[in-house]
Symmetry: C2
Subunit: 154 residues, 2 copies
Amino acid sequence: MAGSTGLKFGQHIIPASTTFLRTSLSFALVNIKPVVPGHVLVCPIRLVERVKQLKTEEVSDLFITAQRVSTVVVSCFKASSVSIVVQDGREAGQSVPHVHIHILPRILGDFLNNDDIYQELQRHDKDLLESQHRTIYEMEREAALLKPMFHSDS
Amino acid sequence: MAGSTGLKFGQHIIPASTTFLRTSLSFALVNIKPVVPGHVLVCPIRLVERVKQLKTEEVSDLFITAQRVSTVVVSCFKASSVSIVVQDGREAGQSVPHVHIHILPRILGDFLNNDDIYQELQRHDKDLLESQHRTIYEMEREAALLKPMFHSDS
């Protein structure tokens, strides 16, 4: 993916090879430490910390993109449901100060208690041990799998 | 609120007096058993079970409404953050088969572990004991508090 430009995700620069959809105002990326298979993120391109700071057209584009992405990951990862979560602010568990939507494909019995997934999500956001991160190769492979699933502006 | 028409929320008919915002495609209602103060719901007017079934203009209106509502409840309930959650499908914890966004104002230390809120959310959706429900009077009072906070089409 030489020549592709990375995108800002809070303080991080996300390699273009780990993103799989880009619209005029939003982008979608695979996760460095997914809580469930197919756990991906959708973000506004503009670096905005809180949902209330998003312009109307950004909210619209962001969630239309989230709808597209959730439909694709549910299908790709053979899930039946999806948890769509925004931790808007530190007290809601937000760790990266850039609005992002967690898209979490769900299958029956994936967690002993259905909502244990959120405890994993909390650990996911706090635990920055690099040893638990996926390799760039694994991430690129997943992005390359997802990218062709979008027909237009990816 | 005599004369106001109720709205469908899955199998339920929601009294208009417990709703506080209505747009062309969405509405917002107070909760019969809030998990935190100010826990409200935003729904599409059309009875659609899953996010993928929503038309583009419905997704757009729904989340623009959710942005407006979350900004107001965070302010009204003196919160600092907000959890925005869609349980899209049974395996994600959805109990009422009608798309709905949970808007949960958050304050520092509201739960011992930040994400225990989701366990409460799960209990909230499953536990239908009427003894734990708020009275219609409490719900109407909260809706009447929130309604004037929206400038236009409520």
